[in-house]
């Protein structure tokens, strides 16, 4: 895509997103969750797509951010907005710290062992939260009431999550275009080679997970307040739903690309909402079928398929040096 067209598309999408609450007020919350889904897919793809470490446990950072924020809001006694700000910061800090600690151990696991360990991590967090009385155990936590008119809360969090999505997208775009992106791609393609070239793989891997955890932590804090109620297994540490959806959305759109997760999340979220509306009761059966179909028939994803089909469009073409260079052979 030429740069100007890409920029126009981006601006158009942002304008559309800003106008959406007035265009389709009835779907405000659903679209808010679309932003959440896009953040899920984008942050999963940092490790899963760009670095080759398939994590089923990223939802832990989401949940930790959510609980961290809710505890601050409950216990500091501040007004709503200061408490929310502090809570989001604390939630993010907690998530990043956790990622740094866990990462130093878990990121030394390779291949499917990492996937399974993170799967275990996700479930352990959910079970642990359901047992811990300080955060409400199995009955969960309720976040403070939003101080405003009915409907204001939805608008506030709509724009907050939209802003988060945009920031996530641009931060990742910036990171992927620099050394960081190159290094984690190198780790994905051949970690032994990357080590043999002297790359500080552990530093890069841990940083990548921390970036992922940061955005998930902030998002978790916001989502806890949007929903208003935190259930340990179904909202915060929802491994079998959110945790797996992240993976699926990124794969569906094309993992290892910037736009793939955005595209995948959009398609998946709309499909999911349609299931919910038209297949009541059977929506989760349909979900299982969708997972199978994506994995079996679309392992490359939409953008991955397009890149396979038209490599030149993605810049992979033979290109001679314009000036007559001195060939060494």
């Amino acid at each position: 895509m030429p740069p100007t067209a890409s920029r126009l598309l981006l601006i158009g999408l942002v304008v559309l997103a800003l106008a959406a609450p007035w265009l389709a007020p009835a779907y405000r919350t659903q679209i808010s969750f679309l932003w959440v889904m896009i953040i899920f897919a984008l942050t999963w793809d940092i490790l899963g797509g760009q670095m080759g470490y398939n994590s089923f446990g990223n939802v832990v950072f989401f949940g930790v951010g959510m609980y961290g924020c809710a505890v601050i809001q409950r216990d500091t006694g501040l007004d709503y907005y200061p408490a929310l700000c502090l809570g989001m910061t604390a939630g993010a800090a907690l998530a990043v710290t956790l990622a740094a600690v866990l990462g130093s151990g878990l990121l030394g696991l390779r291949g499917h062992y990492f996937a399974i360990a993170t799967l275990g991590l996700g479930f352990a967090a959910g079970e642990f939260a359901s047992g811990w009385d300080f955060i409400g155990a199995g009955s969960g936590m309720v976040t403070p009431l939003y101080p405003g008119e009915v409907g204001d809360r939805e608008s506030f969090f709509y724009f907050l999550l939209l802003a988060l999505t945009v920031v996530t997208f641009f931060v990742l775009r910036r990171l992927y275009s620099g050394r960081f992106g190159l290094a984690i791609n190198a780790i994905r393609d051949d970690e032994d080679k990357a080590e043999a070239m002297g790359i500080r793989t552990t530093l890069y891997k841990t940083t990548a997970w921390c970036v992922s955890a940061f955005f998930l932590g902030v998002t978790g804090a916001a989502v806890g307040n949007l929903i208003g109620f935190i259930d340990p297994r179904d909202v915060a540490f929802a491994g079998p739903t959110f945790g797996v959806w992240m993976v699926l959305m990124a794969i569906l759109g094309g993992k290892g690309t910037l736009w793939g997760p955005v595209l995948g999340a959009t398609v998946f979220h709309i499909t999911q909402e349609l299931f919910w509306t038209y297949l009541l009761g059977w929506q989760r059966v349909a979900l299982g079928l969708v997972i199978l179909a994506i994995v079996l028939f679309f392992p490359l994803g939409i953008l991955g398929w397009a890149r396979e089909r038209w490599p030149e469009r993605f810049g992979h073409a033979v290109e001679e040096r314009p000036a007559t260079g001195e060939g060494a052979s």
């Binding site: 070239m197 002297g198 500080r200």
Partner: protein, 247 residues
Amino acid sequence: MKPILEVERVRKTFGGVVANNDITLEVPEGKIVGLIGPNGSGKTTLFNSIVGYHVIDGGSVRFDGREISELRVPRIARRGLLRTFQQTRIYGKMTCLENMLISVPQRDQTWLSILRKPPAADESKAEDLLEFVGLYAKRRLLAGELSFGQQKLLEFGMALMNEPRMLLLDEPTAGINPTLINGLMHRLRRVNEELAITLFVIEHNMSVIMSLAEYIYCLAHGELLAQGRPDEIQADQRVIDAYLGAH
């Protein structure tokens, strides 16, 4: 001239199999030294022992006068001792240019600099080196789509991008089209002379190693069998027997 690499009584066993037994050798700075031996004589194992790929069971490895046998692969690489792989290894899903850009020296990189964009100087250096190995036109292609020989050249270019002081090359001419071998040898010599990179080369192609190296070590059955100048090695009856016996 003082040796840049000193390997002293290095021993490595896998289970009961002795892959390297009491191997002692040294590589003088700025030279090209060869390592030959029949298949299974422990050449690649010795390379792996030197660059820290596995723990050695005994002996010492010194690079530039400092002990490195306790260090791991990335740290040794950052000190300027780099290796290429027999089964060529490149980053297949990245373009050739990206392969080069990420191969810059990692010595002075800090946590902040990894978040930065690669400077323009890196890019022009990468393009020059790609031109040097003859891959400039393919720089926007995915490295995994190159032929085996081209991947080998790319790996060589990546190693140069890393500005090592010494390069361990594991069979640089294996799998390369015979008509291109002379060009590759020419490049190896230029790298040695112009960039002052010491080369330590495993090679099966006798005519290549005899004309390239100034000094040659020969391994057989995990032990050092012979050493000397190429003409001495060529005349050494033990070396001839080892090769004939192995085939």
